[in-house]
Amino acid sequence: MQSVLGDKKAILILLGPALLVYTLVKLVPVFWSLGLTFYTGNPLSGFDFVGLDNFSRFAEDPQARSALWFTLKYAFVLSAGQIVLGYALALLYVFVLRRASTFVRTVVFFPTVLPTVAVALLFNSLFATGQRDGPVNSGLESVGLSAVDWFSTGTGTFVVAIVMELWRSMGFYAVLLYAGLVDIPEETLESARLEGATGWRLVRHVVLPLSLPVLLSSVIFSVNNTLKVFDTLLALNNGGPGGETTPLTLYMYRTVFNYADYGYGSTIAFVLTVMCLLVTLMVFRSARRDITRA
């Protein structure tokens, strides 16, 4: 029997194709990219070995610094928003709406599956100004405030991007965290209630500590995703105005495909990978149990 379960030919047939394409299309390119960080140039102009110059260039490049700073700011603000709103919604589903929450849950989740490009173009119109005022500026004007030209400043674009992503993803984080809250045994909550813990105190002292693991893995998942933001900012305002809302991903893309510097582009990609790696290592440490159980 063990020889059947260890049948070499079957292993080769089942695993071989996947392992082959995975190695060729993922593993090899990763090491290739790693190697490119020591070079500058592109296939047409040829490559020059520059050692660690790309990294010192990254440290001094004002555009790279601003992209790195923007990426961190975006990831921090958006992740905080996603978790806070998602958790508030999850609490609403579990403790207030209870079984009636299915409809609300389904509606609020829906934008999660919409294409980012479509959502970004929609929000570009929602916040439009001038001749073609969108609902947001029309609303501001109708309550006596003046319209804001959101997309002419980096801050304005940043605000719209955050609002858009929260609109899109809070339903997802709500469902993720909801799954964690539903797992809290009813008896635990009941005995806490009998001891007089209600409302905010129940959440603060009983629910929050018990949902900490799923909360933690959501935080790390969220940071990990928001660090890689690309299409939102590209489709919303083309990374502008003047590159003010250009994250690392977009800066890397432009370095490679507009300025044809494959080596420096790979260096930016490497910095991004290291950032994601640090976060993801934490995901696996905290979330392994939850996910394999699903």
């Binding site: 695993l15 996947a18 990763v30």
Partner: protein, 298 residues
């Protein structure tokens, strides 16, 4: 559950007359109802506004207030977006990319997960780890070498770069989740099949695959959204307009007309949203559960 939790509250208010109590409850629930109503409006109004806009003429966009209803329901914008704006071509390309990508990804991923989880051999842990590690690596890290190779192999004039890249980028999560599902199936099933003389290939196709049908649907849905909604890979490897997928086409939509024609643009976005909505109406339970389970994906 409801009766249990309401018991203390009821005892406390036992002396209040019944009608007043009911009125009080309705009043107390009012803020929550308003909040929930507001939430639903905030989520849905932008989409309703979008679809209404898709019926407006260019003139209406500039001369009427933004929340005005369209003057009529004509579908000119839709035909303009579909054929004039090339959205029809884009949708076809997206289908031609998504279907084979999902098929390859699932076939390769499920088979690999079976070999790694059910079968017994030395080094399987290491190989599984190598696959799972791929979840951590952002697409940017493989973009440059792949572009170089696809370009030199003359593949950039076809949809193959997209199909190959999506297949491989989806493999880590597919292998990871499928291995987790297989772990939940009792090993005795495969062992007794082996005792009965079934080879492992037979066990895989006749026992494992039918048992994993739900898991396969789940992973297919999760990966469908990540392939269909992707912009990065599609933008990098489609060098010609005829090869553009839906997301690339949409991104370039406003440029095509010089000064934007808002009606067709809104119609194009609407087509995207409504297409996904139809899928969501039928499969929302599986989609929500699947995306939550697949949230290790990076």
């Amino acid at each position: 559950m409801a009766t249990l939790t309401e018991a203390p509250a009821r005892a406390a208010h036992a002396r209040t007359p019944a009608p007043r109590r009911r009125a009080g409850r309705t009043l107390r629930k009012l803020p929550v109802r308003i909040l929930v109503g507001l939430l639903v409006v905030v989520e849905l109004y932008p989409l309703v506004w979008l679809v209404l806009g898709s019926f407006k003429t260019q003139d209406e966009f500039f001369s009427k207030p933004t929340w005005a209803l369209p003057e009529g329901f004509n579908f000119d914008n839709y035909t303009e977006a579909w054929s004039g704006g090339g959205l029809g071509r884009n949708v076809l390309n997206s289908v031609l990319v998504t279907v084979p990508s999902l098929a390859f990804m699932i076939l390769l991923g499920v088979a690999a997960a079976f070999a790694l989880e059910v079968m017994v051999w030395k080094g399987r842990g290491t190989v599984l780890l190598a696959f799972v590690a791929g979840i951590m690596i952002p697409g940017q890290m493989i973009l440059v070498p792949l572009f170089t190779v696809y370009f030199q192999a003359g593949l950039t004039n076809t949809l193959w770069p997209l199909i190959i890249t999506y297949t491989v980028m989806g493999l880590p999560l597919t292998v990871f989740l499928m291995a987790a599902y297989l772990r939940a199936i009792p090993r005795e099933i495969f062992e007794s099949a082996a005792v009965d003389g079934a080879g492992m290939l037979r066990s895989f196709f006749r026992i494992a695959v039918p048992m994993m049908r739900n898991a396969i649907v789940t992973i297919a849905l999760v990966e469908f959204f990540s392939v269909w909604n992707d912009l990065l890979i599609a933008l990098t490897f489609t060098t010609r307009d005829e090869l553009a997928t839906v997301q690339v086409g949409l991104l370039q939509f406003s440029d095509e007309y010089g000064s934007t024609q808002y009606g067709p643009l809104f119609a194009a976005i609407s087509i995207n949203v409504l297409g996904i909505l139809v899928l969501y109406l039928f499969l929302n339970r599986q989609i929500m559960a699947g995306l939550a389970a697949g949230s290790v994906k990076g």
